[in-house]
Symmetry: C2
Amino acid sequence: MAETRHKPGPRRTLTEAEIVDAALALLDTGGPQAASIRRIAAAVTVAPNAVYTYFPDKAAVERALVERVLAEVTGSEPGGDWRERAVTLAVDLRRQLIAHPGVVALMLSGPLDGPHALRLGEHLLELLAAGGLDPASAARAAYLLKVYVLGAVALEVADVPPGMLPSEAERIAARRVALSEVPAQTFPRTAAASGMMAASVGAEQFRWGLRRVLDGLRAEAKLDGLQAEAKLD
Amino acid sequence: MAETRHKPGPRRTLTEAEIVDAALALLDTGGPQAASIRRIAAAVTVAPNAVYTYFPDKAAVERALVERVLAEVTGSEPGGDWRERAVTLAVDLRRQLIAHPGVVALMLSGPLDGPHALRLGEHLLELLAAGGLDPASAARAAYLLKVYVLGAVALEVADVPPGMLPSEAERIAARRVALSEVPAQTFPRTAAASGMMAASVGAEQFRWGLRRVLDGLRAEAKLDGLQAEAKLD
DNA sequence: ACCTGAACACCGTTCAAGT
DNA sequence: ACCTGAACACCGTTCAAGT
């Protein structure tokens, strides 16, 4: 914490990683408006424009932020049922994204073409192929799973006020309150559903939905399997 | 187009709807950065702070924008298979959101609790109940369908550069180009999948994924049906 | 190459004042 | 109540200059 005042000149005590770490901390604690270039620079005790030595623009910092978070998603070990492996990967990805709600919006604001995004996509395709899906089915299945995970996380995170990282119990409680304010006479089913939904929002609801999606894919995979066998005959 | 210069004073020629329409046009043609309070005000030829007579802050304008777009989603008529009705509703919602890509980010940046959002949610619950799903199953199924539609649209729209409203063919071509740049030696499956994916992105892929989700729900619904019958015995 | 101070063209929002 | 001009505290980004 040495309060060193720096004159202009080469230092290179700063790293891309340090900047991204500072940006992530700001995003987590203060929401998107706290993750400005100027505040990031202040956090690493540097002039605002010094950031542009390391990143061409703010979009590049945001891409690095997404990659930073995706880097910590490991994936699943080979072997075993492909559906279980898919669940493991999806749950792991969800946990990481829920821990950094601000990053979810960044993921959906541009193409997911960074190295770690591609690595996870490749991992998923690999896993599906190992489960016996032909390449075409695996490609569509991987896309569907990506849609499910990102959609579920985005909706889960949408209610979270920026800068707050409440526990799952707190998020569920907050949702319960929000849904209980729905006028029951105009939206009776929505109001009635609020009680059941609130209890199942979160990891449990996520796993349930994921199971439904995988059930839907299983039928497709079987069909493809039959078609493949038919071709072999 | 009379270039009337206005002195301060009550006019009330301006409406909330006019402001929202102007904001939507700016968002569609220029992306999120074009939909600033100042540019919206300029579009309706008014001083920037005049907007605050109609909306408390920018977030309120954004909520109105979401409602404006959701208002045009009709839903499906009663009768017929509930799965077909769900497809109709989902496809209708997708078409409306794809036409206004900038609104998708706004939808995912806060709770979807506006009147039209609630109306569509209620419509979906109604449709599922008419199909024989018990309230608890319908609530979870509705949430899953919401996740799928919003996730699919968000991913589809993520690549679209702000301000461009390319045709579906153009978006498919753009995605093909983007995916063809994936290094094939490090991500072989992703590179291989690019060819198949590119052809199926868009409305066709959307319907396919929706069918998978509905297939997954069908198994669940049957199970619930059996449980309900068992209870009646 | 790396950093600074200063400036530019923007933001959202507030305030006092005019009708 | 509705609108204006002016101002405030911010942005992202660029530029010329220093080491």
